[in-house]
């Protein structure tokens, strides 16, 4: 699959550039003899910045060459477009599930958030078998709680107020 690599390269350049500017503004502390807290990060970031510009240039050259050679190849068929759209949708769904999970966890506790997450994520993956949808959230959550919260007493988040009281019933 052909990918447009110019935009990500620009993002990388922007990232290293911003960090470089930030590094320049770091409080420069040093001990006698050594080169201080700012030297190494600036060195690394400057090198990364230059190399990513080099990468951009090489992409641009390649891009130019390819456009000259075969301009008609770049049009994507509608079938590929639908496939790409579906891929993006599935990816977005799983990222949203995960984000929701980790944001909710400190508030509603590990047990409830995991139950919800397991259900939501396997649904997002495309699981439609009712039995698996019904059982696996409880199975996965139960096993995790037993191993991590009960056996090795990991202080998994319990949530706040009423959710904390609920979590304490279990672990």
């Amino acid at each position: 699959m052909k990918k447009n690599e110019i935009v990500p390269t620009l993002i990388i350049i922007a990232f290293f550039g911003l960090m470089l500017i930030h590094a320049m503004g770091l409080r420069f502390v040093k001990r006698f003899g050594e080169m201080g807290s700012g030297f190494w990060p600036i060195l690394i970031l400057a090198a990364a910045f230059l190399l990513s510009i080099l990468l951009l240039i090489s992409h641009l050259i390649k891009f130019q060459r390819e456009r000259k050679q075969a301009p008609e190849e770049r049009s994507t068929s509608s079938e590929e477009g639908i496939d790409l759209k579906n891929r993006r949708k599935r990816l977005a769904l799983s990222v949203v599930c995960l984000l929701g999970y980790i944001l909710l966890m400190p508030w509603i506790g590990f047990v409830l958030s995991t139950l919800l997450y397991v259900f939501a994520f396997i649904l997002a993956l495309g699981e439609r078998r009712r039995l698996i949808l019904a059982i696996s959230p409880f199975l996965v959550t139960g096993l995790t709680v037993i191993v991590f919260a009960k056996l090795i007493l990991m202080p998994l988040p319990r949530g706040v107020d009423i959710f904390a009281a609920f979590s304490r019933l279990i672990y």
């Binding site: 050594e34 980790i102 400190p106 997450y117 699981e127």
Partner: protein, 496 residues
């Protein structure tokens, strides 16, 4: 000396010690296989139970758990792609790729034989040459550590896959990540942007679990559900046993790696992680088909596993001869020594030879016992594959989340892991190799700090780096290692 070994062997076969060996090994294997419990955590949790045991039984169980933890971590790495310890990252990269190609059982065999082989090698070296290795390790001051990290970083081009330029950027990104948090020389905060989440810096495991495991689940989640065939396929254990000829072909790597592992394992502050990466990088550099690295290269897996397990013996040498822990887990063993009224150190060998040789023998037996145990245990692990793909996937994700949480019992690591999951996803999409980033993250901090320590020692004179023999050799070797691929494959630089 010989009679000490004979006594040690006869005591290890006492029923209570054999039982300790089994229980410790099982516990360690479980702790290591579960993300979220590190090997040291496993040893800590076991320690209170050893209060009432006789010292030798106590150490047998702890040492066995230590060895088991390291083995167990690699099982999770190969089958699920979650690195349990920073040292198992090469195993994740190569072993899990093999597993995805349906050769999980093969990868497990290779890992088992190599890690046990590496472990045994280092135990033998430890038995024979403890004082020698410890004295050599003491020669390593800050300039030598800097040379070592440079040598480690110099293999980056070997790990870059197709594009050296992208590999370098990826590596620099990793080194940059390592500078986040408190500066180890002046104590000032860098790149924390006033937040508490980045205050302690980015822990290796958080970043690695995100970059390697979470990103992979995201990649797989993208695929249409029906086309999915199962993340880890396997044939029978027996049919997948590697042939002797395969080991013969890689004899050079199989000799180099355990030596690297034992020596570097003895350096406090370096340990298993750097050992595994150096051996892996060396294998990549000297390999005949370096393009296979990152896509299931057996020699890479062999090198990393040999070195990783050989480092246990290395860190035990310096613990026993000098009382200095080479790794987190050996630091825990010191606490266990104290509980039993023993002081690890040069005096121990004279005062309690039964304990010291007992530990040597226990490590030897633990390695052998684990070989048998894992061969049986792997069948059980492979059964997990029968789970529906969706459940398997979600279970791995939850293990990642719990594993990140367990690092410091804090939500912060989970958020960082999520962020690194996204970064890893885009790195994979745009074919930026992940291994160099991990290499940079692991070595970056040590490289910077040892360079600055060196300058502190020399009051600002950089010539100290080349006026000391070991550091000069290491630096020369790293320059050679950087330039070597240019002569060998001049095309490598051109193809971006």
């Amino acid at each position: 000396m010989l009679e000490h070994y004979l006594t040690a062997f006869s005591t290890i076969f006492l029923p209570q010690n054999l039982l300790a060996l089994c229980l410790g090994g099982l516990w360690g294997l479980m702790a290591g296989a579960l993300p979220g419990i590190s090997t040291s955590m496993g040893v800590v949790l076991l320690t209170p139970f050893t209060y009432s045991m006789s010292p030798l039984t106590a150490f047998t169980i702890l040492v066995s758990a230590y060895c088991g933890g390291i083995t167990g971590g690699s099982i999770t790495s190969i089958l699920f792609g979650i690195p349990g310890e920073p040292s198992s990252v090469p195993t994740v990269i190569e072993g899990h790729s093999l597993a995805k190609q349906g050769r999980a059982a093969y990868a497990l065999w290779v890992f088992l034989l190599c890690s046990i082989g590496g472990g045994l090698f280092s135990v033998f070296v430890m038995m024979a040459a403890t004082p020698l290795i410890a004295n050599f390790a003491l020669q390593f001051g800050p300039p030598e550590y800097f040379g070592l990290t440079m040598l480690g970083l110099s293999v980056v081009s070997g790990l870059s896959g197709g594009s050296v330029l992208k590999g370098l950027i990826s590596c620099l990104f990793g080194i940059f990540l390592a500078t986040i948090g408190t500066d180890g020389i002046t104590g000032v905060e860098r790149f924390t942007f006033g937040t508490t989440i980045l205050l302690g810096g980015i822990s290796f495991i958080t970043a690695m679990v995100g970059l390697l495991a979470v990103s992979e689940i995201l990649i797989e989640a993208e695929e249409p559900f029906q086309q999915y065939k199962g993340s880890v396929d396997y044939k029978g254990m027996r049919g997948e046993m590697p042939r002797v000829s395969e080991f013969k072909r890689h004899w050079l790597i199989l000799t180099k790696s355990p030596i690297i592992g034992t020596v570097i394992g003895a350096l406090p502050g370096a340990g298993a992680t750097i050992a595994a990466f150096l051996a892996y990088g060396e294998a990549a550099r000297s390999s005949k088909n370096p393009e296979k690295f990152g896509h299931g290269a057996v020699d890479g897996l062999m090198a990393a596993e040999c070195a990783n397990n050989a480092s246990t013996g290395g860190s035990m040498t310096i613990l026993l001869s000098l009382g200095i822990p080479g790794s987190n887990t050996t630091a825990m063993l010191i606490a266990a020594f104290m509980i039993h009224g023993l002081q690890p150190g040069p005096l121990l060998l004279g005062q309690r030879p039964d304990i010291v040789y007992g530990i040597f023998v226990a490590m030897l037996m633990a390695n052998l016992f684990l070989l048998g145990l894992t061969i049986i245990g792997i069948r059980l692990f492979l059964q997990l594959n029968r789970l529906p793909y969706s459940v398997f996937s979600v279970a791995i994700m939850i293990l990642c989340v719990v594993g990140a949480f367990g690092l410091s019992n804090n939500m912060d690591d989970i958020y960082l892991m999520f962020l690194f999951g996204l970064i890893g996803y885009y790195m994979r999409k745009y074919s930026f190799p992940i291994a160099p980033a991990v290499l940079g993250l692991v070595l970056g901090n040590l490289a910077e700090l040892s360079l600055r320590r060196t300058l502190l020692l020399s009051l600002g004179d950089p010539l100290i780096l080349i006026s000391r023999p070991i550091s000069a050799i290491l630096l020369a070797a790293s320059i050679f290692s950087i330039l070597y691929p240019l002569f060998k494959r001049p095309k490598a630089l051109k193809s971006v």
